[in-house]
Symmetry: C2
Subunit: 516 residues, 2 copies
Amino acid sequence: MNGAECLIQTLVAAGIDHCLMNPGTSEMQFVAALDRVPGMRAVPCLFEGVCAGAADGYARMTGRPAATLLHLGPGLANALSNLHNARKARSAVVNLVGEHATAHLRCDAPLTADIEGIARPVSGWVRTVRAVEDIGADAAEAVAAAQCPPGQVATLIVPADYSWSPSGPPGTPPVPARRRTPSAEAVREAARRLRAGKAALVMSGSALFGRGLDAAGRIAGATGAPVYASRYAARIQCGGSGFQARRIAYFPEPAEAMLAGLESIVLVEAQPPVSFFGYPGRRSYLAPENCAFHALAGEEEDGAAGLEALAEELGARRTAAQARPPEPEQPSDDAPLSADAIGRIVAVLLPENSIVSDEMVSSAEAVSRRLASAARHDHLPVTGGSIGQGLPVALGAALACPQRKVVALEADGSGLYTPQALWTMAREQLDVVTVIFANRRYAILEIELRRTGATGMGRVAAGVIGIGNPDLDWVKLSEGMGVPASRATTAREFRSQFAAAMAERAPRLIEAVIPR
Amino acid sequence: MNGAECLIQTLVAAGIDHCLMNPGTSEMQFVAALDRVPGMRAVPCLFEGVCAGAADGYARMTGRPAATLLHLGPGLANALSNLHNARKARSAVVNLVGEHATAHLRCDAPLTADIEGIARPVSGWVRTVRAVEDIGADAAEAVAAAQCPPGQVATLIVPADYSWSPSGPPGTPPVPARRRTPSAEAVREAARRLRAGKAALVMSGSALFGRGLDAAGRIAGATGAPVYASRYAARIQCGGSGFQARRIAYFPEPAEAMLAGLESIVLVEAQPPVSFFGYPGRRSYLAPENCAFHALAGEEEDGAAGLEALAEELGARRTAAQARPPEPEQPSDDAPLSADAIGRIVAVLLPENSIVSDEMVSSAEAVSRRLASAARHDHLPVTGGSIGQGLPVALGAALACPQRKVVALEADGSGLYTPQALWTMAREQLDVVTVIFANRRYAILEIELRRTGATGMGRVAAGVIGIGNPDLDWVKLSEGMGVPASRATTAREFRSQFAAAMAERAPRLIEAVIPR
């Protein structure tokens, strides 16, 4: 057995069965070994940012890591911004990076770079294999590190000669560390605060879906406390008849208004709410200045278990009644498209149990409001603010949940950071429907430009923010990558195209042209 | 004046007049200030890797830095792999990165990242502005650092609040440091070695074009010493009737054969030749084991001046006679395309004084051989081995040399790392003609897989290396980005399309389909 075979065997034995890869020469032994070691699905990507974003999406939906396979420092560098998002999502990722053969490292060859240095800002754990005998144990430790609650990016750097040399046996699969259950004292204190009133729950992580969210609904029923989702949570269960957490607004003014009057916030796997950017003359923290925080569960703890214990402590049995928003009125057939019109149509047509990857940016508020009345679905927002994750995260979610419909709601500007994801969707025939909100500009920046106190937008600034010179043709871009596509400019066109896409089980893209 | 205005004024006064930008909220004051401070051409890009690669191409052709403008840690991360290439090219780049407002940094907002940590592996100089009063001086120092011979990436990180706050006056433009002329002793020693025989010149940097290359031709004429170009040089003057350096081969066997028998190598702004990758059982250094090295000029020195002094020392007046390769025979009209056929056609049609950005990878050897007989042109190869530079470097070269034809010779796999460069070519109406060598696979990896000792390619490995499932349609991709495109499958089609593109002055793409 050579080092590459040992590495893959160790990963497979530890439950890692997907590898998102964009390999080069130094990873060729790994690629060759895939034919000899069964159990690993190899998913090639044309750009490393797609690998990283897909691994993030996979982890968000399964709670388990996928592996990446990246080529030396530059390959890792291309993955870095989506690894940043994965880091902020607390996603478990086993990030494999090839390195030059050890004897070659002395020579300052073109591709030689400080791989550990590049990896560190996005990784919770970084190791370079130091001897071929260690490769199995190192791989097992990488898996353990990635799964260390709440989950993190674990980067393992593998010199090429250790891949091609005879190795020791595979590493022992790690026993995944369990999340600690919050202490009884933390639960009692949370109950005391909620009973005292003027208190809210702010949740993130595993608290925002499944049994955690159900328990939060009962707590809201018993106490009347509002339940908020962190703006930057990795996965939020929405829609349907179940309880819904309210997502904290993007801009600080409406976010502060949501939290106004609170004297106490109980945090569940969440940090104190903070605005996305700092602005002249505004605080960054969003809760009232005197608001006190109490952590029911830290990020590494089991927030869902904490919420269940809290519901028990409060004797909370009935889920809070929520006025489920009515099915939105449908836009008339010939209405020009808008984010709101798209939201109304998607809300009606989205199938039960879908997954929505959301990188709508300036269209997000208008659409998300409508999706509250859609069928039950999982919402995957941008966690780390680095755009270019929407399509890769959708791809990863589709790999993780092949039975579920995945819908990527994507801004045209953001989609252009990682359009290569479409090719892998076509190659793997994944059931991902992408909707491009084509306003032909970085619309969010028009707002942000004013907010930072800039006194106005001149010709040059408008030219930088507009991306409509020339217009991007997303139908051609998508077809160029192998994904069938169509363009919609009216509500009728969008409805018919989106309905058709929901009825298929194949990749598809709709460019929805919305007014500038 | 606010900090953003001060920053731009300082840069413009220091001669920086191009900014390749993909800004976000934290850079909005910079964008707004572009309308108030004249003299800076703002070139928006849809992806940060395009900004970095274009700044590299600009520096290779002008010897002067362009600025980038990148959004926080993730924006920098997306630029990193092309900054790696710029670092290896010794290109001067003023790399501007926005940072959160200082008060916001405490809050661990989604986009907060270790920007200095991300920058350091690719930068020779990194600084975060620490007070708004410093912004002018810091910007001037960044320019000085970027221009410090031979040139490097200087990263200046600018917190948003310093951009929007009142600043001090602009910084004093730095006096660019001059390259040191090699010592008389270094020149005499080089002469002694060349006279002794079994010696060669290995050159890189500024030695490979203009007066440096001319002097090398005279030295070769006087001594008979072969003159080699480093494989990883940033810019190599080729073709025409002038003297040509011979580029060291990519794979170690032919490279070793070129250098076999040498007892002495005189390095001019170059490192001892090293192979791209290390392979089982092979040395990484390419020169014979007992070969001695002597540096006529270090990378930071003036190699051209050193070569002129050396020619003088040797009394070398006549340029070496080189058998100029004959104009290649043209492929018959209906011949299916191949890299060789394309090389033959381009060699005949390439206009005098063109610039060729080369990221052909597996097609490179076949084409480059033919281009030796083309009209005089500048050849811009991959310096750092990170693919995805070909189109951005072409873009930057076109900004630097608006009167010259730029031809990007690009592999289909490599082109997919930064296809967004096409949009900026269309937006700026740059005279760049892109030829895609579409073999629908990572062909180089088939060779590399065997070279690393892997025992064969199974079904999974072949699937990972093939990128033809589905085939990419580069005509659609290009048109989707706004660049007119066509497909060629025969020599006749390619010849007619390429000739038409040479006659225009506008961006254009040709997908040349070559057999798998």
